[in-house]
Amino acid sequence: MGGVRAAGWEAPITVAELVNAGPLAGARMYGTGEVQVRQVRIVDELSVLGQVTPHTAVVLIGAAAGGGWAVEMAMRRAWEQAAACVIAPSGGLSAGSGEVLAERLGITLIFVDEDPLIVAVRIASAASRPEAARTQLVARCATRLAEAGPSARRVLGVLNAELPGTSVTFLDRYGRHVAGARPTDRPGVERPGQDRPDLDRPGAERPGQAGPDRSGVERAGVEEAGGRVAVREAGGRSLEGEQPPLRAAAGEPPVAASDGATTDEDGRSHEARGERAAGRGEGGASRGGRGAGARWSAEVEVLDQEGGVLGTLVAVGSSRSPGWPAAVRTVLNLAVAPLTAWAARERLRASRDFALQQALAERLLAEAEAEAEAAPGTGTEHGTGPEPGAGAAPGTTAEDGTGAETEARAETGAGTEAATGAEAGAGTGAGAGGPAKAGSKARMEGGARVEAVALGWPVEGELTGYHVRPTAEAADSPLARTLITAALGQVPVLPRGEGWAGWSALDPGELAARLARGVRSMPWPCVAGVGARVEGLRSVGESLLGAEAAAFVAAPGTVARADRMGPAELLGALPTGVLRTPAAVVLRPLLAVDKDGTLLETLAAVLDEGGALKAAERLGVHRNTVTTRLERVKSVGFDLDDAATRLALQLACHVLLR
C-alpha cells in the first residue's frame, strides 16, 4: 500500500480544520477558513502586522483587539499579508460587520471566548505538526475499521462518522449505491434553501459554532439594517480610492458571495481558487453558494480478491483544506482491505451450500435481532443496500444488519437503508424497521425455534459465540462444519467471512478448549475466537462479534477469547500493511535521527510498558539510558506528555516494528 499517503498529506492544517475538529472547536468563524496555517503570531499592536508572513494565524490581543476599527484594520492588513485568519476576542466587533468584511476580503475571522493567548499556543501546536494531527485521525480510523471488520455497512459507517465534513459512499462497479451516504445526500447536489454544507450532514454542527439558524438570524439583522448585503469583489483600495490589481499571486479568492450576488462586478462567478480544484486532480465541483467551498472528491477503487473491480469508495466534501482530502484518501485506503474481505466473504457464502441449517441459523439470528430492535431502546441498525455479488444469497449474519427483510433486499435492492444519519450509528430508519418487525414476529412463532430445538441447538439461556477462521484458503465448508460439530456438539455452523461461526451453550472456557481441539483437527491452518457469554439469542450477535474479533487477533492455530482480549491483542489486529506508510510519516522526524533503530525500539518499549523503568528492564539497559534516549525523541518534536501523541506513536511503533 505504498500509495496510501496522498499528496498534501503534510500540507499545513487549515483554519477550517482548526475550527472543525481542532483547537478552535466551538469558536465562531466567519469566512471559509480555507487557508493553511503554518504559524501563529500574537499581535498586540497593528504595526506588527506588517511583519506577518503568509499563512499566519493572527491572534489579536490588547490594543490590536481594542474595538471594531482595530479588528477591521487587522483583517485588512492580515489580508494584505496573506495571513491565514484573524482571531479576535469576542465582543470587539459586531458580528454583522465582521462577517461582511470577512466575506469581502475573503479572510477568515474567528471570535474566541477563551483567552486568546491560550488559543494561540494551541494553534501553534497544531500548526507545527499538521501531519501528526491528521495521523491521529488516520490512526483512529484504522482502529475503528479494524473493529468494524469486513462489513461494507459498518466500514462506511465508520468512515462517515470519523471524517467530519465529508460524505463517503461505496458504489459498485456499475455506479450503484452499496453503502454509506446516499447519492442524493451527496454534497454538490444543491437543495433549495440550503447553501451551507453543514446542512447536508446531520450532526455536523458543532456546539458554539454559528449554525445555519443562527447565521440566518444574523444575516437578517444585517439586511434589516442595511438592505441586501450584496458582497462583491473586495479589491485593494488605495487612499485615493483607486483599485489596485487583485493579488492573484497570493491566490486570494473572491470568495464571498451572498444571496443573489454570486458574481462580482467582472461577472466572474465565485468559484474555488484554481490551484485547489485542479491541484489534486480530484475534480472538485465548484459552486457559488455563500460560504460554500469548492467541492472536492476523493475516490479509491476497491478490488476483489481476484483483482477485478469491486467498486469505488467516493468521498466528497466542501472543505478547501488541501491536507484534508489527502487525509481522507488515506483513510479510504484503509477501508479497502476490509471491503475486499467483505466481498470475498459474501462470495464464499454464496458459493457454498450449507442448506437448511445455515438458513435456519440465519433466520434465528435475524429474527432475534429484529425482536431486539422492536424492543425500545435498542439501537441496532437495520438494512443495507444491495450488495454486489451477494446475488440471491441473503445476508446471513445479524451483525451485518441484513436482518429479516431478506426478500426485500433481494427484490428491490434498495430502500431499506436508513437515512444518512444512521450511517453514523445514529439509529435506525423507521421506514426500514416497520415491515421487517411485523414479518419477523410471525416467523418467530412459525417454527425456526422449534426446528432449532429439534436439532439440539441452544436457543435460550446463556450462549457463547465462536468463530473459526482459516488463515489460508479453505475449500470445503461442509467438512469444516462436520469437524466443528464434532468438537462442539450440536451447534449451528454459519459461513462467516472466510470462516465459520455459531454459538454454543458451553461456557467460554470449555468452548475455547473444545474449539482448540477442533482447530487442530482442521485440514487447513485456522485460528478461532470465542465471544463473551451472553443471555439469549437476542444478544448472541454481540458475542459473535467478539468471537470474530478474537479470532482476528488469535495467533495461528490457537483460540483467542474476546473476554480475555486486551489492548495488546487489539494492536496486533491492526492492518499493518495499510498503516505502515502513515506510521513512517508520523515517525519520520525520529527515523531521520535514529540511524540504528535504537530510539524507535526504546520509544516502543516505553510506550508499551508505560514507563522508562519497565522499558529499561525490557531492553536490558540502564534507566538513565532510556531517559537519555527519550530526551532525544522529545528533541525532534514529540510531546510524550500528550495522550493523543502517545497513542499515535504507539500505533506507529507497533506497525513499524511488527
Partner: protein
Amino acid sequence: MGRVIDRDELGRLSAGSRVFAIGTEESAYRLTLDWAHSVIGSGVELVTAGEADPGTLCVSITLVGSTTALGEQLPAGDEPARAVRALERRLGERAGAVVALNLAAENALVPLIAAAQLGVPLIDGDGTGRVFPLVEQTTYALGGLSPAPLALAGGSGELVLLETPGDRVEELLRPVVLSFGGWGVAACYPMTAGELARVVVPGTVSLLLRAGAPGAPRSAAAPYGVRTLCRGRILAVEGSTGHGADLALPSLPSSIVVQESAGLRRLVRLEAHNEIVLALADGAPVAMAPDQICMISTEGGMVVDVDKAEPGLEVEVMVVRAAPVWHTDRGQALGGLRAFGLPL
C-alpha cells in the same frame, strides 16, 4: 483695507460656518446668531493679519464646552467682552483685534460678537482651518504660541484666569468649564498681529462668507480641498447609540459602519471620538485626522453628528483636507490620529 461684516454678511458667514461643522446644537447656533445680530450694529471690520499693525495685540476667542449646555443655559451677554477685558488686565494692554480659534458654527460667531462688543476688527483667518476639540490643537500652538494666559467667562458671571504651561491648559480648563455648567467663552492665545500673521490659517472668514452665499458649492467651504469618500447607508452604530428594547450601554468612543450604496459597495467604518477621526474602507485606512471627516445627510444636506447617526440613514461621507501645517510631523502629533488616542 478690509471689508465690513454687516447683518447681511453675518447671514452668509453663519451659513458658511455650518457647511462642515459638526457637533452643532441647533438651539445654541440660533441663539448665537440672534445674539450676534443684536450686537453687530453697523458691522465689524474684517482685516487680514498682515493689514493690522504688527504690534497690535490680538486675542483668540472661542466657545469652550458643550453647545447643548449653551442652548440650555443662556449667556448673560457680556461673556466675550469680560473674557477679553480680563486678559487685557492681566497683560496690561488693550486688544486691538480678535481672531477665531476655529470657524465652526457658533465659534465663527462668538469672535464676531466679541469684536462688535469691543469695537475692534476681526482678523480674516483662524487657528485650525477646521475644528479640533482641544484648545491646544491649533496652528497657533504649532507656531510655538501658548494658549495661556487664558481668561474664561461663564454665563453666571464667573471669570477664571488660567496661567499655566500651554500643554496643561486643557486639563485645567475642562473641570472649570464643567463647574461653570458646561460652557464658557475663552479669550486666549494673546499675540501680536505680526505673530498671528505667521501662524494663522489665513482668509478663512472670507472663505466662509463666499461659501455661505446662496448657491455656493459645498466645496467652497474647504480651503484645502474636499473629497467624497463614499455615499452609503448607515449599517450599524456601535458603542454610542442604542435603539429599541435591547439597549447597549452607550459610551464614547463610538463607531459607525456605513455600507457603500453603489460602486464597490465597500464597508466603511467611521471611528469617532466626539468627532470622526478615522475612516476605514474594508479595513484599510482611507481618511484620518488631522483631516476632517464628516457625514452629510443625503436628504437634508446637513452635517450629521456622530450622536445623531442612526442605522438606515443615507449619508455622504466627506473628507475635508486640513491645512498643510497639520500634515507636518508636529501637526500630526498635535492633531493626528494619536492625539485622539488611536495608536496607529
